[in-house]
Amino acid sequence: MNKLCSYVLMSKKYACLSVIVSIFVLLSASCSDQLDLKPQGEFTAEQLNDESIEGLMSSAYQGLEAHFFDDNNAAFAGPITNWVFDVRSDDAYKGGEGVSMEANIHQLEIQNIASDNATCLNKWENNYLGIARVHKAMQAINDASNVNEKEALLGELKTLRAWYYFDLNRIFKSIPYFTEDDDPKTVPNGNKSREEIYAAIKADLEEAYAVMKESQDQPGRFNKYVAAALLTKVNAQTSTWAEVQKWADIVINSGKYSLYDNFADMSKLEFNNKKESIMAIQFSTANDNIHINFCNLLNTTRSDGNVFGSGDDFFLGSQNLVNAFRTDDNGLPYLDGTFNKVNVTTDYAGNVDPRLDLTVGRIGMPFRGHLYTEGWCRDYSTYGEHSGKKGLIDPSSPDMVQGFPWGASGLNFCLIRYADILLLKAEALIELATGSNAAEDEKLVEARNLVNQIRQKAANSIDGNYTPVDLDPFTANYNVGLYPTSGDGNLYWTRERARMAVRFERRLELAMEGHRWFDLVRWGTAIETINKYMEEESALRPYYVGASLTEDEIYLPIPISQIENSNGLYTQ
């Protein structure tokens, strides 16, 4: 009995042991299979297919929003709208409250250019991330077995890429240039000269133009005239004026575009992708407003009574810009440089161009149907008045977002507007002209016609009833005239004066749309203009005291962090 018991006991023990051993063995085998876990909510590179091309195209275009991260400040500091470059120019102040708020932009404003400036990094990063998305889409298209119109799709992508490179090439001291066939990790900055890069951009665009579509079913996508318009701009940058004229004519002759009837229409949702809109960023209120123009978000006016929410009131027009809108008895601007002798303030009684009040707010004047007062100015003592208007729609419209993001809407931002192309063509004609005045040279006559078209639009915009109301003809003396064509007008319109007129017109028409700085650089007048401006403006804005712009500060340095991360690939 005892023996039996002990046997049972023993067998129990061995049973236990063998159970343990088998558990070990079984676990080792079965648990290893449990370790193969797949990504959740994402898919792997192997799962990309032809169907993915639409998604890759969408994200390549989304690069235009320059809003790659939840960190909204990366869009603000490296905006595709280039408003921070207007702050570098004589057109605008940083704004906001005090100079320390968004201090990196203050540093740009006083031309204190350092390689760790957030704009350097974010501008660089936003554009190159955009290029990388373009290349991802290109590779997928090239690899695709069953996709129609590959060439046309590639043309759109090349046009996108051309914009990113064009922007980088006119902003930075030196950049790396590569295509979808290169490994970007091996391309040093300055692998091509600035001129070579412009040439490569042009070549890309010309190829694109040749294969792209006349028109697109999806209005947010580029047609071939976007490539042509961009070629106009790039050629203007390189002063290849015959090409400017050629590509501008292609755009103009397409018959797809026309000037707005009223200058204010650029700030209306119903004109998205209409009339002057050639190359536009399709902002939208989709996905809880994440696709609005975050580049300019903080630029919403403060507005007494929160008409536009809690706007942060960055990006204000400079006094110099406001003064530039003064016109003489003939409604013409003071081309002789005397415009800045008189400050346009509330008690100013002289003539102004109506575009002034469609560009910035002025105390005592209407702002989208509301009276703009000092209460709208966030930091009057530092930055004065002149909140920007162009990016804001009618606040009474249901299309304006309520609450955060303040004053936002689906309003597009035009990277290239038809007026820009007309003025570039005018500029080309003047540069190509051989005679010294309009009496001698048809090109100068044609240029004057173009400038006058723009001015006629401004004249047509003097309408105190056009809603939302921004003009008050009873308070301001709006007077905008055309450059004379009859009488001695042809003798007046000398090549020299024509050049001054078209340049001045660009400033007025395109004010605070991200063009001024690049125009000044292109014309070679940046240093002279900006230093004079900062000195004069320092009487009002003492933070300009002692500020200066030097030749080596025109182009931004390569962001220091990119150099540090490049393992020697990049050098300043």
Binding site: F24, G220, S381, T382, N567
Partner: protein, 1014 residues
């Protein structure tokens, strides 16, 4: 050969003797004075070599001759000789208590005396934070080499903890093992009163049994079990009053106007302010608004936002044990109100720990905790957090206007900073409800003597459900409700076989073999809705909004499978060796590289057991230890790092190609690049140390020195923008080095009549160095960064050299844009005549030179006075609040407040000042990162002062209690420091930097408490 003969002979004799003499098997139990079982005590038949050791439950069985005497011996106890008797219960008397403690060292327990690695044991009897729900807060400063910095916010959930420096740039949190189940969840759900012991396994040899999760140390927590043979009821209650210890000294309304005027005049601006007019001097208007409803005031916003708050903490437990098993049932309720209005932390916990001894072979048991807690907090620690905004809101603005509605600084003066009282009030219905169920159930089988088989199933369930009401601050705001729910489960199945045996009385063997499978999964859901017609909490349900709705959610999971073994060998309590091996396989790595093997070896020599050791009372016990081992780490944020992945990204990858103005075409974005070669990062640690008992155990010393090197550290080398999104890839690139030492000294005085005292002092030091980062860069980060050859989190920026006193000094200085008299001088470090990026350098180190803790207990009759000091020395804090406090133009020049020190800024008549001249412009870029904002944080704190009185037993008996204690305690009594901020205990931020950006202010706490045991 001769020896072998002898052995055979004695073996033969042994056999003969067993046959010849009448023998009987007796069994018994060995316990210590407190009733705890003594594991591994040696039981020898006197005068023979017949013997055994006690098992895990203190039981022994031995065949002995009738009438013989048994000798019970154990390190740390007095040796006893008792007549053998079946069922005998032996109570061992303390010799040196320290040595006898049992520590849990991973799947098994060990006597502290037998430890060969570095283990720190928390003194659970010392003063602790009575009103704090998070036990971590009470551990701060008490364990050498364990650096804990706590958050003062209710619930204390953001405590950061580092064991022996930082072994990796990845989240360096240690692993918690609670009753044998590993977790990385926060400790703030655990009832402190349930905790029996806390031990920290610091070195690789003790922690390597936990393999790939142990590189940052292991904290082992054991909860209380029922003990004693009668039902014990314990009730604890404490009430604590938290008062604000310190606040920022800021300008009042009149001072603000004067400073603003001065700053404008210095900047060349004509001063003008909506509240103060535009005269030659600031004249505060009677009313701040046009309607005359907002009366100008002199508000101290910090007084408004912060007020004293109570914490109530009650816990009770009932426990019992018998040979059939044990149980412990406990409950706890803690309600901690925050210093900030409307903030609190409220928690209920219940625990049941039971064991059932079914038979001599089988026993089962479980430990189960359920915790439910609700908290409401507000953002702190950044410039939008409430403490920061309370510091900088304008004093002229009152909290409410004449209608009693909250004032709106945004409308009144173009401010960016909302009324903090309004913000707090708007969030008064926000909730965050969490549940945690944590426990394990096991079966123990003891099939043969010395062998224990155990199968343990651990489960951890966590969930949270939060509700955030976005009420309007001003009319144009859009109101909203957002809710988030998440839940996760971790299953841990552990099987171990443990063999404990003593051969020939001197060869003690403890062998362990085990498997473990862990599966973690977490899913969450979130939703938001906008545009609510009414803002009362009843109406604001997620479904009742009228605006755009957004949703979110996802899933994460990982799994781990491990095989491990450990063997301890102890020869005559004199020579101790231990070897550990663990093999882990993880789902986080590609299948070809997913396993890692982590070995460890350690040895100790108890020199004092040697015959030659002088038998005197100077050094009664000395053990020297050496250990070497490896741990791993794969705790990266990415669970699928070996896959190259894409995702549809509706936020930042989709575009309105259709030109609709309100919709997008979904777009695909690359999210990450996979690395199939990825493997564990491995930390190799060598530890040497000694433990000594001196002067009859009155003084004990423990010292450790360690070298800790991490190789193949997991990093994401930076990518260039040109590579695009998703180019970042986890790689094994880095190397980290830590070395340091730790010393603990404990002194127990003899009884001087009714008086005695004891003290424990610990001091530790570590040196941390990032040896290699990756192949791309030697530096990463901004104001604080990782730099090769430097400790983690060093501060990086310009060096200031005071203030320019005159024009000569200005013109002789290097080119520095914006320089001028009264402005800060930035040093031209490279001497090239221009102050630029290249003049930045390392300007501070957040790692302390050393840290210490000192606990003192004085006992007199029933009274115990305990004091606990802690301190860290030689470390720097990056105090960002000084930008706001000392620069008039900063943070919204005309609408935010600043420190009162600003009145002592530089001026031609106050040239000794350290604050540069007031100005509204900053062309000198003075708020750039510089040593101006880096301060020495060295401090010594008296953290606790506690007076406990144990009532005489006759009084206790009168209410049928066995023990009654009453106590009073003050926490955070004083701090000796030169630091200018509120408190130098600044939680560890990115890269281990200590950045003070307006943290939750630390309270001074007064507690009264009662502890009754029936």
């Amino acid at each position: 050969m001769e020896q072998l003969k002898k052995m055979f002979l004695s073996l033969a004799l042994l056999l003969v003797s067993t046959i010849m003499y009448a023998q009987s098997e007796i069994s018994g139990t060995v316990v210590d004075a407190s009733g705890e079982t003594v594991i591994g005590a040696t039981v020898m038949e006197k005068g023979t070599s017949n013997g055994t050791v006690t098992d895990f439950d203190g039981n022994f069985k031995l065949k002995v001759n009738e009438g013989t005497v048994l000798v019970f011996s154990y390190i740390g106890y007095l040796t006893q000789e008792l007549p053998a008797k079946d069922g005998m219960q032996v109570v061992m008397k303390d010799n040196a208590k320290e040595l006898a403690e049992v520590v849990v060292t991973g799947y098994t327990t060990q006597r502290k005396a037998d430890l060969t690695g570095a283990v720190a044991v928390m003194d659970m009897k010392g003063a602790k934070s009575e009103g704090d729900p998070n036990m971590l807060n009470s551990m701060q400063g008490k364990l050498p080499g364990v650096n804990i910095v706590t958050d003062a916010a209710p619930g204390g959930g953001n405590a950061s903890i580092r064991v022996r420096g930082m072994s990796t740039v990845n989240g360096a949190a240690p692993l918690y093992v609670i009753d044998g189940v590993a977790t990385t969840e926060n400790l703030n759900s655990l009832n402190s009163a349930d905790i029996e012991s806390i031990q920290v396994l610091k070195d690789a040899s003790s922690a390597s049994i936990y393999g790939s999760r142990a590189a940052n140390g292991v904290i082992i927590i054991t909860t209380k079990k029922g003990k004693g043979d009668k039902i014990t009821v314990n009730v604890n209650y404490s009430a604590s009053l938290n008062v604000i210890a310190k606040q920022y000294e800021v300008l009042d309304a009149q001072q603000w106007g004067e400073a603003y005027w001065a700053a404008n005049i210095n900047a060349g601006l004509k001063p003008s302010h909506p509240f103060y007019g535009s005269g030659d001097t600031p004249q505060l208007a009677a009313y701040l608004d046009a309607e005359g409803k907002v009366k100008s005031s002199n508000t101290n916003w910090q007084d408004e936002v912060f007020s004293s708050a109570w914490t109530n903490n009650v816990s009770a437990s009932v426990s019992n044990s018998s040979e059939k098993g044990s149980f412990m049932l406990s409950g706890n309720y803690i309600n901690q109100n925050g210093l900030m209005e409307h903030t609190f932390y409220r928690r209920y916990t219940a625990r049941i720990n039971t064991t059932y001894n079914i038979s001599k072979v089988f026993s089962v048991g479980e430990n189960l905790m359920i915790a439910q807690w609700t908290d409401r907090g507000y953002g702190t620690g950044d410039d939008r957090g409430i403490p920061y905004t309370a510091m900088r809101q304008l004093p002229a603005i009152p909290v409410t206007d004449s209608d009693g509605t909250f004032t709106n600084p945004m409308a009144l003066c173009g401010s960016d900073i909302a009324n903090p009282m309004h913000e707090l009030y708007n969030g008064r219905d926000n909730t965050n409800d969490s549940w945690r169920i944590f426990g394990n159930a096991y079966i123990d089988i003891k099939p043969i003597d010395g062998l224990t088989l155990k199968s343990n199933l651990g489960i951890e369930h966590t969930q949270y459900f939060s509700k955030t009401l976005g009420r309007r601050i001003q009319a144009s705001d859009m109101n909203s409700v957002s809710r988030a729910y998440g839940q996760g489960n971790t299953f841990t199945w552990t099987n171990t076989a443990n063999y404990l045996k003593t051969f020939a009385g001197v060869h003690h063997i403890n062998a362990l073999l085990g498997t473990e499978y862990i599966k973690y999964g977490f899913e969450d859901l979130s939703g938001a809705n906008r545009d609510y017609a009414f803002e009362d909490a009843d109406y604001m349900q997620i479904g009742s909004g009228g605006g755009e709705q957004t949703i979110g959610g996802g899933k994460a999971e990982w799994a781990l499978f491990s095989l491990f073994g450990k063997i301890d060998y102890n020869f005559a309590d004199r020579y101790l060796v231990s070897a550990t091996l663990r093999r882990d396989q993880t789902s986080r790595l590609y299948k070809d590289n997913n396993s890692g093997v982590f070995p460890a070896f350690s040895a100790a020599w108890r020199a004092s057991e040697e015959k030659f050791w002088p038998k005197n009372n100077v050094v009664s016990d000395l053990k020297v230890r050496a250990a070497w081992g490896q741990n791993g780490n794969s705790a990266i944020s990415d669970n699928y790092a070996y896959y190259t992945r894409y995702a549809y990204n509706l936020r930042h990858g989709s575009y309105d190609l259709n030109g609709t103005n309100n919709s997008v075409v979904p777009g695909i974005v690359a999210t990450s690049s996979g690395n199939k070669d990825l493997k564990w990062e491995t930390t190799t640690q060598t530890n040497i140390g000694f433990d000594a008992q001196m002067f009859e155990g009155k003084l004990s010393l423990s010292f450790d020195y360690y070298w800790k090197n991490t190789k193949d550290m997991l990093t994401i080398p930076p990518t260039l923008s040109v590579e695009g999104e998703g180019a970042a890839m986890w790689m094994n690139t880095g190397e980290m080095k830590n070395n340091g030492w730790e010393l603990t000294m404990t002194y127990r005085s003899p009884q001087y009549g009714d008086f005695s005292w004891n003290g424990t002092f610990n001091i530790s030091q570590y040196k941390n160095e990032l040896v290699k980062f990756n192949d791309v860069v030697t530096s990463q980060g901004g104001d604080y960064r990782l730099m090769v050859g430097q400790p983690m989190g060093v501060y990086y920026g310009y060096v200031t050299d005071g203030i320019f006193q005159n024009e000569d000094q200005v013109s002789n200085h290097a080119i520095q844009q914006g320089k001028g008299v009264g402005r800060l001088i930035f040093r031209d470090i490279d001497g090239n005549g221009v102050v630029d990026d290249n003049d930045r350098c390392i300007i501070g180190d957040p790692n302390p030179d050393f840290a210490l803790g000192l606990n003192l207990d004085f006992n007199y009759k029933g009274f115990t006075l305990s004091a606990f000091f802690s301190g860290e020395f030689g470390f720097d804090i990056y105090n960002t609040t000084r930008r706001q406090l000392e620069f008039m133009h900063y943070g919204g020049g005309s609408s935010t407040n600043h420190g009162v020190d600003i009145l002592n800024a530089w001026s031609p008549t106050n040239t000794d000042a350290t604050i540069p001249a007031l100005t509204m412009v900053d062309n000198n870029n003075e708020t750039r990162m510089s040593n101006y904002f880096v301060e020495d944080g060295s401090y010594l704190k008296l953290k606790y002062l506690k007076l406990n009185y144990q009532l005489p037993t006759n009084i206790a008996k009168a209410i049928f209690a066995s023990n009654i204690n009453v106590f009073g305690q003050v926490e955070n009594i004083f701090t000796i420091t030169k630091y200018k901020g509120l408190d130098p205990e600044v939680i560890l931020g990115g890269y281990g930097a200590r950045v003070d950006s307006g943290l939750y202010p630390r309270a001074r706490t007064f507690t009264l408490g009662l502890n009754v045991t029936f």
